[in-house]
């Protein structure tokens, strides 16, 4: 039951984009088309799940037993950077079409603050192994949901008559605000 709560809350209630303001750069940059938004979302979900696994192992097997907690920042960011590199090489080898589809979005994930926050948060909340993985996967899905919804709205906005200075980032942020408001509707779901 507790695992279900972590999962649902990561997707809907404490959505990484709409509640914690993480991954705003790709959220604004890659949400023009539903296709690319979906690719970005899946790539992030993939990396997030693996990051949850690896950062848990490093934190619990290497850093904590030696009292090196203060090295968390440096080691997590290095892990994420090398992980993204590895995932990129791996995908290019086993599935060239998927690699083509993800394109430049893969390397960009390194600088996505959502991934780093995930590793920190799982360590801060003292999640166990399974909890961390569920948390990582759920957060990734939450990001995917938000970016796809945003891409859908923006495809419609193309047709709308937006005042000149609001075009681009400004209207996207305001739409995000209204979406965040709508997501408040979920907040009563889990106590």
């Amino acid at each position: 039951m507790e695992l279900v709560a972590i999962f649902i809350s990561a997707i809907l209630i404490n959505n990484f984009v709409l509640h914690y303001f993480l991954g705003i750069c790709p959220f604004l940059g890659v949400s023009k088309k539903i296709d690319s938004a979906l690719s970005m979302g899946l790539a992030v979900t993939f990396v997030m799940t693996i990051t949850a696994v690896v950062s848990w192992v490093i934190n619990h097997w290497i850093l904590m037993p030696h009292g090196l907690d203060y090295l968390q920042i440096v080691s997590f960011i290095l892990v994420i950077a090398s992980l993204v590199q590895l995932v990129e090489m791996f995908i290019r080898k086993i599935s060239p079409p998927l690699y083509q589809a993800l394109g430049i979005y893969l390397p960009l994930i390194t600088t996505n603050c959502a991934i780093f926050f995930l590793a920190l948060m799982a360590a801060l909340r003292n999640y166990g192994f399974v909890q961390s993985v569920i948390f990582g996967f759920g957060s990734g899905l939450g990001f995917t949901l938000a970016i796809i919804l945003m891409a859908g709205i923006r495809e419609q906005l193309e047709m709308a008559d937006v005042p000149e200075p609001f075009k681009g980032a400004a209207i996207t942020l305001i739409v995000a605000g209204i979406m965040a408001l709508a997501f408040f509707g979920f907040s009563g779901m889990i106590k």
Binding site: L18, H19, F21, L71, V74, A81, C113, L173, A176, I178
Partner: protein, 203 residues
């Protein structure tokens, strides 16, 4: 690259290349910590510290860093300074460190800092990089102060914790919540763009 005077190097960070309003960099912390002026200010100072010192270090050892591993080297340098800030804040300002929470470590992935290293410090002298970092930091702090002032005054009726609105004022709670952050920044961006268009058309 056109040669700029030292003054212009500083001023460009305030408006022409303001990291938030013009370059749209570092939006995550901008949105997250601006629910109160004190938080916004603390975040601005912490980020400036990291930016200034990273720029100093990167510009002074730029010839030693092989270009293939430069991004990784920058990240390690930045992460070192972030760890220092994180520890200092936890030791001397525990309440602020608590309310900023995991957003202090997140300075590592703030694109303003990495962006300045890649775009400026790695190509310019130590002095110029310092001026550039100071300008960018000031621009960032100003933007955070504007955003957090609007949100705190409208959302709680207070400024730095002091009551500024009369008793008739009903706080707009929404301004303190995530949607208020998105909407306020959206409107500010539109205003900044409009000002830019006006000055451009006049020139």
């Amino acid at each position: 690259m056109p040669t700029r005077s030292v003054g212009q190097e500083f001023v460009k960070g305030l408006w022409d290349e303001n990291p938030i309003f013009r370059q749209l960099l570092g939006l995550c912390p901008t949105l997250a910590v601006t629910n109160a002026v004190i938080n916004g200010f603390a975040m601005g100072m912490a980020t400036s510290f990291v930016l200034i010192f990273s720029s100093l270090v990167v510009s002074s050892i730029k010839k030693l860093i092989p270009s293939q591993v430069r991004i990784a080297s920058y990240i390690v340098i930045i992460a070192t300074f972030v760890t220092i800030v994180d520890r200092i804040m936890a030791a001397f300002f525990p309440p602020i460190s608590k309310s900023l929470g995991p957003y202090v470590p997140l300075i590592v992935v703030n694109c303003i800092i990495l962006g300045r290293q890649e775009a400026f410090s790695s190509k310019n002298t130590v002095g110029r990089s310092l001026i550039d970092a100071l300008g960018m930091s000031s621009g960032f702090i100003i933007a955070l102060l504007i955003l957090s002032s609007i949100r705190e005054i409208l959302g709680a009726g207070t400024f730095l914790g002091y009551q500024v609105m009369g008793a008739w004022f009903k706080p707009w709670i929404i301004m303190l919540l995530p949607p208020g952050a998105f909407i306020t920044l959206g409107i500010l961006l539109a205003i900044a763009l409009q000002i830019e268009r006006k000055t451009k058309s006049r020139a």
